[in-house]
């Protein structure tokens, strides 16, 4: 374990979490976030963690860092297998998380610059003789519903409605897996999709990146083919003659190595 580029001034607790530390290592070592060399990263990450622990970092508060170490080691071991599809999948998942977190950090920095209003003060309401007692009327059964809700284990008979998920999936920081299902859904109605059309639908950079990574993932899985003219076809529709690039399955095409 050599040439780890670690600034000795950095302690584990200056990082907001394992993703933050990974981003730090990636930028310090000028690694490509879109193609993390997992072996290098595992080595540097574990070395950093063990060094921090040697220097007295409390192991109890390091649980999330250790969890990530285990995850990286798992990806590494999966990557050693002759067929390492799973490793690629896990690695890309991690890439997605890192991109998301990187955006989060950038927005946080912008918010921090805008936060001068934290020094503005408002008043407590004036003491004024006014009747503030609640005026509405409710059915008492509502109270029971809310009680069970607060207790958190309300029994349900029906599956949750689709809108219920909006709080989870209505996100502008776009996950790759949601993009994948979106593209798959498009194939229900369309025989083929234009790559450029998919990009046009993207509402933000992160959306675009997620679209791109989702297409990569789908083609790797062998679910789609991409033709010379950049049409995307689901496997069932693909003519053999269309298959000109990115044939799925083989180990070689799994690794998106440096071009």
């Amino acid at each position: 374990m050599s040439n780890v580029n670690i600034n000795p001034d950095y302690k584990l607790d200056v990082f907001e979490g394992p993703l933050d530390l990974l981003l730090h290592l990636i930028s310090k070592n000028k690694l490509n976030i879109y193609d993390i060399p997992i072996f290098t990263l595992v080595e540097q990450y574990t070395e950093y963690i063990s060094k921090s622990i040697d220097e007295g970092f409390d192991i109890d508060s390091a649980s999330e860092f250790l969890e990530m170490a285990a995850r990286l080691l798992y990806i590494k071991s999966a990557a050693l297998l002759p067929v390492h599809e799973e490793a690629d999948k896990l690695r890309k998942e991690l890439t997605g998380e890192l991109i998301e977190y990187q955006e989060c950090k950038k927005i946080a920095a912008k918010l921090s610059e805008m936060s001068s209003g934290i020094d503005s003060y408002v008043r407590e309401p004036m003491e004024i003789e006014a009747d503030r007692s609640y005026q509405r009327v409710h059915n008492v059964t509502e109270l029971l519903d809310y009680y069970l809700m607060a207790a958190g284990k309300k029994l349900r008979r029906l599956p949750p409605p689709v809108e219920a998920f909006s709080g989870i999936v209505a996100r502008r920081i776009v996950s790759i897996s949601s993009k994948i299902s979106l593209i798959k859904n498009l194939f229900v109605k369309h025989r083929k999709l234009r790559l450029s059309e998919l990009y046009k639908k993207s509402e933000s950079r992160s959306d675009l990146v997620a679209t791109f990574l989702a297409i990569l993932e789908l083609s790797r899985q062998g679910s789609i083919y991409i033709t010379d003219s950049l049409d995307i076809l689901p496997v069932s529709n693909a003519e053999i003659s269309d298959i000109t690039l990115l044939t799925p399955g083989g180990n070689d095409s799994n690794e998106f190595s440096t071009a």
């Binding site: 003060y121 408002v122 008043r123 407590e124 309401p125 004036m126 004024i128 003789e129 006014a130 009747d131 503030r132 007692s133 609640y134 005026q135 509405r136 009327v137 409710h138 059915n139 008492v140 059964t141 509502e142 109270l143 029971l144 809310y146 009680y147 069970l148 809700m149 607060a150 207790a151 958190g152 284990k153 309300k154 029994l155």
Partner: protein, 196 residues
């Protein structure tokens, strides 16, 4: 600090405080001589008067305070009373339900059930006279306990707490809450009160 800056600083301090403040404390806060501060306050008060502001800077026995002029009391009262009609939030309903079924309860109990800080919600329920303080528990820290009010009964159209709908017996959540209750009421009160 020039005279305009001094007046602005005093204006900000008096606005934010709400309470009457002594001349000395104001002078210290703006780091000025107390004579100069007094003069600035008088000028500031004069400016508010001159432009017929709805707000006046009062000198009450050597303490200074901004206050609205009496002519506007009616509007203020109306604005404050409008809030009576605003519906309760989800959080307020939940806290109210927890208090209704387990009263009297401490804030820490409510927060254990809900898993989040509930200070704001409790304050608002108190203001709306749906709950009230019912003394303190004779436990370390002497925590306040809360129970529901007659306005609560009116709101839910019941004449006594015995008319609350019964809790289902096999609900896991209900069981969980009664475990917290048991813990709070019996052997290990310190722990309950310290686990916040």
């Amino acid at each position: 600090m020039n005279s305009a800056q001094l007046k602005s600083a005093l204006e900000a301090v008096l606005f934010a405080s709400g309470e009457p403040i002594e001349l000395e404390r104001l002078a210290e806060a703006v780091e000025a001589d107390s004579d100069i501060t007094k003069q600035a306050l008088e000028e500031l008060a004069g400016e508010y008067d001159a432009r017929n502001s709805a707000i006046a800077l009062l000198n009450l026995d050597g303490k200074y305070q901004f206050s609205t002029r009496p002519d506007y009391a009616e509007y203020i009262k109306r604005a404050m009373e409008q809030k009576r009609k605003a519906p309760l939030s989800q959080a307020a309903f939940e806290v109210l339900a927890i208090i209704a079924y387990n009263q009297p309860v401490t804030k820490s109990f409510i927060e254990q059930v809900r898993g989040v800080d509930c200070s704001g919600v409790i304050a608002s329920l108190l203001r709306r006279e749906l709950i009230e303080e019912a003394g303190r528990l004779d436990l370390p820290g002497r925590p306040l306990i809360y129970c529901t009010t007659t306005n609560f009964l009116r709101t839910f159209c019941i004449s006594s707490l015995s008319e609350l709908p019964p809790l289902p017996e096999n609900d896991e959540g209900v069981r969980l809450v009664s475990e917290i209750t048991a813990a709070e009421q019996t052997d290990i009160p310190e722990q309950v009160l310290l686990t916040k």
